[in-house]
Symmetry: C2
Subunit: 330 residues, 2 copies
């Protein structure tokens, strides 16, 4: 029913091979025939059958994208970036949402990996070892996670953290709490690590509080604990958690930023919409998605480049209303 390469060949008066060549290796065919074939193909609306092509080339023209939770507005932004860049390169994107479940993640990877040329793992929750076994099987690029000898794109977290702490210390804060995200999150581990470094350098005391789910509810749950530590400022694992803190503080009548300043990570759209608007460290979301696709395509094109490409993208502190001068404590 659909128009095949043979139809084009017949109409153009050449063989099927010439059609293929005219379309995929144009320099190998005579300019005149090439143009004729191309015109016929266009007229007939010919598009190579991807299954047939995939069968012989071993390539599907698809890439897979795994994200932990599409309900966290951070990830739709990444997805948008991935989509945009992938479609430009004529790749289609399989999306899978793992619901923050490392086990489901592994299953989905196994399933998807058969149907794609490469995988983009965004903030994967599985362990390094599990990750390694996958990397052995399928071309993989990590977004928001780093692992030796695996291409990755990550934000310049250390710098972002430096901006955050500079901002808070400049406002007079000396004791700062950090509300940690999931233990399984590399991003969380990195935030803790860079925060310790930066806080020490700035002479600020750091109070680390429990690991929470990286959602609004996590922030709500951690809020009282944070207040009990008597800090004047709190940095949250991400914006959703920060919004949860904000919500609970407001409910308890704790003034933000009067009594406590709140600072998040990600800069999701929502953060600008609430009262008080959230001060946060903007992470490159769409850009990460795009860069991830670039790295993956590069990896597919030349699989045996020795040093794994690694891209770090800049971060930017966005100062809004949720941070202010530290209160005098008695």
């Amino acid at each position: 029913m659909a128009v095949t390469i043979k139809d084009v060949a017949r109409v153009a008066g050449v063989s099927a091979s010439t059609v293929t060549r005219a379309l995929t290796m144009p320099e190998l065919v005579h300019p005149e025939t090439r143009e004729r074939v191309k015109r016929v193909a266009a007229d007939l609306g010919y598009h190579p059958n991807r299954a047939a092509r995939g069968l012989i080339t071993g390539r599907t023209g698809n890439i897979g994208l795994l994200v932990p939770d599409l309900a966290n507005p951070f990830f739709p932004s990444v997805v948008k970036g991935v989509q945009a860049r992938a479609h430009e390169a004529d790749y289609a994107v399989f999306l899978a949402d793992t619901d923050e479940d490392a086990t489901a993640e592994i299953g989905l990877v196994r399933k998807l990996s058969k149907q794609v040329d490469g995988l983009l793992l965004c903030s994967p929750r599985m362990s390094d070892d599990e990750l390694r076994t996958i990397v052995g099987d399928t071309p993989v690029v990590l977004v928001n996670r780093r692992l030796a000898r695996v291409p990755s794109v990550t934000p310049e977290l250390l710098d972002g953290m430096r901006q955050a702490i500079s901002h808070l210390t400049a406002l007079g804060h000396r004791r700062v709490a950090y509300v940690a995200g999931p233990r399984s999150s590399w991003a969380n581990r990195e935030r803790v690590r860079s925060l310790r470094t930066v806080a020490a350098a700035a002479g600020a005391e750091l109070v680390e509080t429990g690991n929470v789910t990286p959602q609004f509810e996590g922030g709500v749950a951690a809020a009282d604990q944070v207040l009990a530590t008597g800090v004047t400022a709190v940095i949250a694992y991400n914006d959703l958690v920060a919004l949860g803190l904000l919500n609970r503080f407001t409910a308890r009548g704790v003034a933000v930023p009067g009594e406590v300043s709140v600072l998040g990570f990600d800069d999701i759209p929502l953060s600008a919409m609430v009262h008080p608007a959230l001060t946060t460290v903007d992470l490159p979301k769409e850009q990460s998605g795009r860069a991830g696709v670039d790295l993956l395509l590069q990896l597919l094109a030349e699989p045996d480049r020795s040093p794994a490409a690694r891209r770090e993208l800049p971060t930017q502190l966005i100062v809004r209303a949720s941070t202010g001068i530290a209160p005098r404590r008695v």
Copy 2:
């Protein structure tokens, strides 16, 4: 490199045809050989090559999902539902985001339609005519839109609107504004239509205000206009717009719900997180996604069922803090 059907055949001591049959039409092969083949296949970790299968069956095992804007939290929920149900049925999901652009939408449909068995169009922005041409080419199920002779899943909007208006009139509101969404949105047209019906029946006066982009910014932009009309309550096209209204009202010092009540549609997670929490009509999001997949699979299984399946899913008013007793006007 990967294990093929021939490997299984060789190890099991049968022909390739028998392997196929044992796995896809089990009743056709002798129970004993069937079990042996299945065991060998499992041991070797055999998975049929989907490209090869697709080449001959004409089926890809993929479905495409188009959404207008992944940044609107309504859609990630739908996507999650689609994912979940599709994976259960062993289908993979191609996702595409059209950025609210009807033209891009058509292009993406054309591109995707070659690579999938069927398409799930969620809140498509293109015209009915454009939609029709697509429906002719590819199996399509509409989510959040209705069109004659095309399977669809939609929310019971009329009932939701009835709940909303009953709630407002019970609180004493007599003049209610509606902030309209995109003209290209079927959902918007339906909301207007059912709102007119319901408002007339309830004896409430309806003030319709300009079409805005279905985002936070749209609500912000419409807020002053709404206030100028002197209504005591406003229904927004969706929650994002409602949150924009809320934000601007707060900024202008207009008390919600003291001076004006605000009511949204969708019940996105965000709506429960803001102050005041938003009263809204919950639409079945994940459920719509799941039902859409069901309809699509059904359509693929028996393409020539005369009456197009149509599913309507219940809606539910969620009363929170943004609606209250109508103020006495002088």
